[in-house]
């Protein structure tokens, strides 16, 4: 963790009693100076100005040929034709020698850096869900609507989240100068953006070059309208959106990028998104779609070309937003309706289940999270359906969404409210149940997590010990803490019998934020505690180790 990051997140606490806590909590310092942005944030009810850019890898991306377990002999035997090795791979990940990326993903490799929590790219392994569906369309609906595989919903998790944050949306008339809550590049609005109030975002196929701010003199829709008049109302709403939002986009303040993007549709769309974010748009969520990853045949060429575009476009986007100085408010998330079958079918692969996904950004603690996919015959035979990968329950895709909400989109707000909002989005709201599961995990992959005070009188002492992340820990986990004064510091790891297993800090330290990492892989699975002891007080927290 970089020192300035901690200072920023620490500031959230400092301003928590400010007159505008909802606005300011979690915002980087420099955002405070932007009055248009502040007003925009007030309008959207956001706790911060963090932005999420979602990239849908449409068609079912073959995760095994993305994040390649190239040292696993089962991989090569399952894929005599498609198996990647040698120059078809990047170098092994510096902190994870059993994995390498597809050679087309050199951009991702550079974003990964040295990993270990210090890179900008997190790999979440074995993302999936119970009773997986191998249909493109039902699978996509499950990911977009974020339901258990046997539950059907018409709203998307992003739409529901935006509705929770903006309960009065849509307004009866859209004010001139408005910016959309969410924006998708595409011809029709994804159900990802639907709420019980209809579309919470807009879809455009490209950035418009002109707006048409015409005024309309329309007869009212009748009371208790018949279906045709309901549809007419829909068309009028779309017309208003097309005119007002398009005009806002046309008149954005930033119309050029800081870096040159590659020539692909995805890159062009990401470059437009960078401009909108740099222009101070209050839009929280962007969606772009790339595909088709449905590589039943000719996968080496087809997926390779797509990954080249993906990797290069995301790298350019990241460099661009860093050059703009807005990178700390942006994170990128990928998803796809399923992974593909480990065993090849010839020149391609058929539909499968779990797959790795990526979270990218300067505020992401880049590392590999989770274990390598299990490709041995016994594991595959036990897959559902048989022959497929088994997902990691910790990496249920809803936990990824919960993490994105808890640690990013809602970060800085009141934790009780955040928990309630996540429940409403992922478990159930007033009208619909989305999952029988009521417990979601925050995976600890973002730096700027909401901070929590611990101890009896934290304001007096300024002593903080944060939850380690990831928690549960399986490899390297990080412990952040802060000291009110200089002096001797001890941090020890204890088992449930109270026996200290390891002393990981034993030194004199300066006041302010501090951080230490611990390799949990050497501990057996189980519950442990870590204890911070200083002259100002002692704080203890639990840590779960899972393998």
């Amino acid at each position: 963790m970089k020192r300035r990051d901690f200072l920023k997140t620490g500031l959230k606490i400092g301003v928590a009693t400010n007159a505008l806590p909802v606005l300011l909590g979690g915002s980087p310092v420099r955002a405070l100076g932007r009055s248009p942005l502040r007003s925009a944030l007030e309008a959207t009810g956001s706790a911060n100005n963090n932005v999420l850019v979602i990239i849908q890898l449409q068609g079912g991306n073959d995760g095994l040929n993305c994040v390649v377990p190239f040292t696993d002999p089962n991989y090569a035997s399952l894929r005599p034709t498609l198996g990647l090795s040698g120059s078809n791979l990047t170098a092994a990940l510096p902190d994870h020698g059993t994995l390498a990326f597809h050679s087309a993903m050199s951009g991702f490799y550079s974003l990964y850096g040295n990993g270990g929590g210090n890179g900008k790219l997190a790999v979440l392994q074995n993302v999936g869900y119970p009773n997986p569906i191998l249909s493109h369309f039902r699978g996509t609906d499950i990911w977009n609507t974020a339901t258990d595989s046997g539950i059907y919903a018409s709203t998307g998790w992003v739409g529901r989240l935006l509705k929770v944050q903006n309960p009065n949306f849509p307004p009866s008339t859209i004010p001139a100068g408005s910016q959309p809550l969410a924006l998708e590049f595409g011809n029709s609005l994804s159900n990802l953006f639907l709420s019980s109030s209809g579309g919470m975002g807009i879809a455009i196929s490209k950035v418009p070059t002109s707006g048409s701010g015409s005024t309309h003199n329309y007869d009212p829709i009748p009371n208790n309208p018949t279906t045709p008049y309901q549809e007419l109302e829909f068309v009028r709403t779309i017309q208003a959106e097309s005119e007002i939002y398009a005009q806002s986009i046309v008149s954005r303040s930033v119309t050029t990028n800081k870096v040159t993007y590659p020539t692909s549709t995805l890159a062009t769309q990401l470059s437009s998104i960078a401009q909108l974010i740099a222009s101070g748009f209050s839009t929280k969520i962007y969606l772009v779609t790339q595909g088709s990853y449905d590589t039943h045949s000719n996968e080496l060429t087809g997926q390779g070309n797509l990954l080249t575009d993906l990797s290069a476009a995301v790298l350019a986007f990241q460099q661009d937003i860093e050059a703009f100085g807005i990178a700390d408010q942006v994170a990128v998330l990928t998803y796809s309706e399923f992974g593909r079958r480990p065993k090849e079918n010839g020149s391609g692969t058929d539909h499968g289940t779990a797959a790795p996904h990526f979270v990218i950004g300067t505020q992401v603690k880049g590392a590999v999270y989770g274990s390598d996919p299990k490709l041995d015959a016994t594991s595959l035979a036990g897959g559902n359906p048989t022959g497929n990968l088994t997902y990691d329950p910790l990496h249920d895709f809803r936990n990824v969404y919960a993490t994105v909400m808890n640690e990013w989109l809602l970060a800085g707000g009141d934790q009780t409210q955040i928990n309630a909002d996540i429940q409403a989005v992922l478990t159930q709201d007033a009208s619909t149940t989305y999952s029988t599961n009521a417990t979601w995990q925050s995976l600890g992959i973002f730096r700027s997590q909401p901070l929590q005070y611990v101890g009896s009188s934290p304001d007096a002492t300024g002593l903080m010990l944060l939850p380690c992340y990831p928690n549960p820990a399986y490899g390297i986990t990080q412990i952040d803490y802060a000291l009110p004064a200089s002096g001797p510091v001890e941090i020890g790891i204890f088992n449930t019998s109270g026996v200290e297993i390891e002393r990981i800090v034993d030194s004199r330290q300066s006041p302010g934020p501090q951080s230490v990492t611990f390799d949990a892989s050497k501990l057996p699975t189980g519950t442990y505690f870590y204890r911070l002891t200083t002259a100002s007080g002692t704080v203890t927290r639990p840590m779960v180790v899972e393998h």
């Binding site: 011809n187 209809g198 279906t227 045709p228 097309s242 039943h296």
Partner: protein, 600 residues
């Protein structure tokens, strides 16, 4: 407005009550179904949002025949729903036919291709298309050639759409290319797409089961869903599940039994049927047609017995050495009480119900409303079964049903891009140079010695490119994925709406020119108005009303109709001429900008 009352006369009050539902539906009680939201049902029941999104509940929720008045409004509704916009001349021709049944018979006459022949063959090149390696840069010329041929097929088809007479054929054809989906960008061999398109025209109102068989072995489908890469050689198995899955999920069954969460098939059924489908090869235009391919629209498809898996397969409860025809037969027997597939559904559904329901649902969504009404679809499915999967009787009953003419139906559909542009061209009298059937390419050699292929129909290319690019992403013969365009409210977004406005403005302002800088698409305000009357003594209000009737399914209120009247009178109002050319153009621009023009 008092003078505009025609639609409200199509009142639901004219309809009888929903009669005999129990006896018609047998063991199936659609009222007990739990409707599941899906892509077309974009929005929930919450009415705080604009838009529809729920199944229509009308007075008649079955196929009870329509017995209300048969007036202009009803006739226009029928024609709008079965064609791509209705020129006044065709409305008048249909009016002259008299009764509803006579018009419907005319619209469906294309079911007999001897009576309403298929279009003449596009060109000879569709038969001798070389199978090129499009990845090879040395074949750039061939790539250009193929792109030109692909464009030519789109142009040819759009010309068929724009010039269509009183017939449902092209609407059905577009529906089927959006059901049995293939895509020209993936298939990459234009001749295959031509024959596939012709197949969809031939079976437009044909037999759904036979259609499924024919499509399964069309070269375009074999390429698009990798059926041609699904094979076994000796001990090596290269079973590719792509086609087998979509055959059941999207083409013939659907994931779940109607109204339930009970899966119609399992992953094992996909794997087993994929094995049964091994060995098919798409055509290479060099083989001689052999039985059973002689006598049908042959595009070169063949099976290679050496690549077919001849071991037993267990598919939907039945075991045997199955091949394609067996797979189709077994699918079209579902649900099957004898084998209890799929397990868990109540007994008593007729064999074949699942596929009949699936096809009927698609028909309903296309011709009535994008959210299916389970009760009406059930009645359609049973009628289709009674007619051994024939499509025409179902369409005949649907288009003459009370449900179809309900006040909740008229005007409730959103135009697709093709429909939007079709209605612009056909209703506003847009003209363009006749389609040139010259075999492409017209090859010229440029100064660098490279072959240059010239578009022989640049005007139509502007139209078909507009459908894709200018406005709305519906490239003919190239849906976004194997599920096709989702339709309904998905047609309109902030981006596509702006594209439509841009397009209609450009076309009515005569801004489209072809590559030789000649006017490509031509709008004449005088010709547009002359569809109604050459009589310049016609009052502006009467002309305005007639032109609104021509294009809109809605009765406009005083604000909108008042603005239109003002536009039409124009700023140069002449006591002898109640309207003028400039006014007519302003009128047309305003009419097409109305949200009502997006609906039909």
């Amino acid at each position: 407005m008092e003078r505009r009352t025609f639609i409200t006369s199509t009142g639901a009050g004219l309809l009888g009550s929903a009669l005999g539902a129990g006896s018609i539906l047998g063991a199936f009680d659609p009222s007990k179904l739990v409707a599941k939201p899906s892509a077309f049902n974009r929005l929930s029941a919450n009415r705080s949002r604009p838009g529809g999104g729920q199944a229509l509940s009308t007075e008649s929720n079955d196929l009870t025949p329509y017995a209300g008045p048969w007036g202009d409004a009803e006739l226009r509704h029928l024609l709008r729903r079965t064609m791509f916009g209705v020129p006044e001349s065709q409305f008048l021709a249909a009016q002259a036919l008299g009764s509803m049944n006579a018009v419907v018979d005319q619209l469906l006459a294309c079911q007999d291709t001897t009576k309403v022949p298929l279009p003449a063959k596009l060109a000879s090149w569709v038969d001798n298309m070389p199978k090129g390696d499009l990845q090879d840069p040395a074949k750039t010329n061939q790539t250009r050639l193929m792109a030109m041929e692909r464009q030519q097929i789109e142009n040819w088809w759009f010309d068929q759409i724009a010039q269509e007479n009183l017939s449902i054929r092209q609407r059905m054809t577009l529906l089927w290319t959006n059901h049995f989906v293939t895509g020209s960008a993936t298939v990459n061999i234009p001749g295959y797409m031509y024959y596939y398109l012709l197949l969809c025209m031939q079976y437009a109102l044909g037999n759904f089961k036979d259609f499924a068989s024919a499509i399964a072995t069309s070269s375009a489908m074999l390429v698009y869903l990798n059926g041609d890469q699904n094979y076994v050689t000796g001990k090596n198995s290269f079973v590719n599940e792509n086609f087998a899955r979509e055959l059941m999920e999207l083409f013939t069954l659907g994931i779940n039994f109607p109204g339930t969460d009970i899966p119609n098939y399992t992953q094992a059924d996909i794997e087993q049927s994929a094995r049964a489908l091994t060995g098919w090869q798409h055509g290479n235009y060099k083989q001689t047609p052999v039985a059973p391919f002689t006598g049908i629209l042959w595009d070169g498809t063949n099976g290679n017995p050496n690549w077919h898996d001849t071991t037993n397969k267990t598919f939907l409860g039945q075991t045997g050495n199955w091949g394609l025809s067996d797979v189709i037969d077994i699918i079209f027997q579902q649900p099957d009480d004898a084998t209890a597939t799929p397990p868990g559904i109540p007994a008593g559904f007729p064999a074949g119900y699942t596929s009949a329901y699936w096809a009927s649902q698609k028909l309903y969504q296309e011709f009535v409303y994008y959210v299916p009404n389970p009760s009406v679809v059930d009645a359609m499915a049973r009628l289709m079964l009674a007619n051994n999967f024939e499509i025409a009787p179902v369409m005949q009953a649907l288009l003459t049903s009370a449900h179809f003419y309900d006040v909740n139906v008229v005007g409730a559909q959103i135009k697709s891009p093709v429909h939007y542009i079709g209605s612009l061209i056909r209703e506003f009298g847009i003209t363009y140079p006749a389609f040139d059937p010259t075999d492409p390419p017209v090859k010229e050699v440029d100064k660098n010695g490279f072959n240059v292929y010239t578009d022989t129909n640049p005007t139509l290319s502007i139209v078909t490119a507009a459908i894709l690019n200018v406005s709305q992403g519906q490239e003919l013969l190239n849906p976004p994925n194997v599920k096709g365009w989702p339709g309904g409210e998905n047609w309109l977004s902030a981006g596509t709406f702006q594209g439509r406005e841009t397009y209609s403005n450009s076309i009515l302002n005569n801004l489209f020119v072809n590559t030789k800088n000649n006017l490509a698409l031509s709008f004449s305000a005088d010709s547009y108005a002359a569809q109604i009357a050459n009589d310049t003594t016609l009052s502006a209000e009467a002309l305005s009303q007639s032109l609104e009737d021509l294009s809109l399914s809605f009765t406009l209120g005083p604000l909108e109709s008042g603005d239109l009247d003002t536009d039409l009178q124009g700023t140069y109002k002449n006591p002898n001429y109640q309207y003028n050319t400039l006014g007519v153009k302003e009128f047309a621009l305003y009419l097409t900008s109305l949200p009502e023009f997006q609906l039909f």
